[in-house]
Amino acid sequence: MVSSLAVQVGVIFAYLLVALAVGLVAYRLTDRAAEDYYLASRSLGTVVLLFTTFATLLSAFTFFGGPNLAYSAGPEWILVMGLMDGILFAILWYVLGYKQWLVGRARGYVTLGEMLGDRFGSTGLRALVAGISLFWLFPYIMLQQMGAGTAIVGLTEGAIPYWAGAALITVFMVVYVAAAGLRGVAWTDTVQGLFMLGIVWVAVIWVVSAIGGPAAAYTGFDADALALGGGLYTPQYIISTAVTIAFGVAMFPQINQRFFVAKSDRVLKRSFALWPVLVVLLFVPAFMLGTWAAGLGIDVPEGANVVPILLNEYTPVWFAALVIAGAMAAMMSSSDSMLLSGSSYLTRDLYRPLVDPDASEAKEGWVARVGVGVFAVGTFVASLFQPGSLIEIGDLAFSGFAQLTLPVLVSLYWTKTTRNGMYAGIVGSQAFYVLHSLGPLSATYFGWDAALYGMILGLVLTVGVSAVTSPAPDEKQATFTDGLSAD
C-alpha cells in the first residue's frame, strides 16, 4: 500500500515535469532575439492568447484566497469577479489593449515604459514606469509563493513544511523562465488553463455527488446567510474592489505586455467576446466549493486553505493532489509570466537606457536571467514571513498598479497630454496610494477604498497639469494617433 503522502508528492511532481517538458519543446522553437523571447514574434493566435492571459489571471487567489473568502464571508466575490474581470477588464481590453496593440504594431514597442518614454521623449518617464511596475510586482509574486507553501501544507497536513512548498515553486519558475521565453510560457499557460478549467468542474461534480446534491450544503446555513450583500460585502466594497483590481490588472507587466502580442485584430476580437464566459466557467465552481464547505461544516484551521481540506474530505487522495497540482501550475504560470515581463522591464527600460546603452544581446540576456533569480529569491525570502493574508497582499499589488492606468489611458487618446502632466499624475497618485496603504493614513474614506481616490487624483493631475503646461520640444504628440493600421 502506497502511503497518501507518496501519492500526493508523486502527482505534484509528475504534473510539474509535464509542464517543464512543454516548455522545453517551446524552447527549441524559440529564437533568442528580444522580440521573439518576450513577444513570441507577435504571433499568438486566439486560443493561446486567450488562455495565456486567462492563466495569468489565475493565481493563488482563484483556488485559495477566493474560496477562503467565499467560505468565511459568502460567495458574493463571484459578482466582484464578474464585474471586474468579465466586464470592466473586457472593456479595458478594447479601450487600452487594442489601442496599445495598434500603437505597438506601428512603432515596435515591447514594454509600456518604452511606449510612454518614446511618446514623451523621456528616459526618466520610461524608467519611472518600469520601476513602479517592478515595485508592485514584488508583493504579487510573493503571493504566489505563499499560496504554494500553504497549499502544500494543507494537502499533506503539515508533513511537508511551508517553506518547502514555496521553495519548490520558486526553483521551478526561475528555471522555466530562464529556459523558455514567452513562447514556452504561452504554451504551458494554454495547457494549464485548459487543465484547470476541466479539473475544477470535475471537483464540483465529485463533491456534489458525494454530498447528495447542493441542497445538503445549504442546510447548514441560517436562513439569510446566503442573502446577497451583508457583512464584508457593502456596495462600496464591491465596487471599489472590482474597479481597482480591473484597472490594476491592465497595468500588470505580464498582462500589459500581452496587449502587444496578438497576431491580428481578429485574435483580439475573439478574446474580447469570450472573456465573460470564461470568467463564469472558472469562478462560479471554484468559489462555490468554498461556500459549500462552510455549509457542510468543514473545519478550516487558521491560515489554512479550504479547497484542499474539502477535497481531502470528499474525494480520493490522488484527485485532491491533482487539483492542488493544477493550482500550483496556475501560480507558476502567473509567476513565470510576471518574472518574464519583469525581466524585460528591467533590461529594456532600466538597465539599457540608464546603465549600459551599448550592452550586447548576450549581456542583456545575462542581466535578465540574473535579475529574475535575484527577484525570485527576494520574494521567496519575504514570503517566509507571511506578512498578510493572500487577499490583502493581492489587493495591495492590484491597487498599486491601478494608479498607473488612468494617466496611461489619457495619454493614449488625448494628444495634448504633456510630459509634466504624466509625471504629476503618476507620481502624485503613487505617493497618495503608498501613504494610504504602506504608510500611516486611513485605508478607506466613507467606505470607499483609498486606492479609488488615488486613481481620481491621478486623472485630475494628469489632465490638469497637461492643460496648463506646454509640451517639451522632443515630445512626439502624434505617436499614439497617426499612422495606425489594423491589417
Partner: protein
C-alpha cells in the same frame, strides 16, 4: 441613425453592462433556485449577455474612436 448616434448607443450599452453586473435589485435576497442562489443565476445570465454584446460590438463597431486606417 447616424454613426455618431450609434456610437453613443454603444457607450450606453457598455454602461448598462457595468451597472447591472451586480443585481442591486436582489440585494438581501436569499432564495435558492436549482441548487444556486437566485442572484448567482443572474450573474451567469448576465455574463452571457455581456459576451453576446461584446461579440456584436466586434462585428459592428470595432475600431470606433481608434483613428485606424484599414488595408
Amino acid at each position: 441613425m447616424t454613426r455618431q448616434k450609434r456610437d453613443y448607443l454603444w457607450v450606453v450599452a457598455f454602461a448598462v453592462l457595468v451597472v447591472f453586473a451586480v443585481p442591486w435589485f436582489l440585494w438581501g435576497d436569499s432564495r435558492i433556485v436549482a441548487g444556486l442562489p437566485l442572484w448567482l443565476w443572474w450573474h451567469i445570465g448576465w455574463m452571457g449577455v455581456a459576451s453576446a454584446t461584446f461579440y456584436a460590438f466586434t462585428r459592428g463597431a470595432w475600431d470606433r474612436g481608434m483613428g485606424v486606417t484599414r488595408g
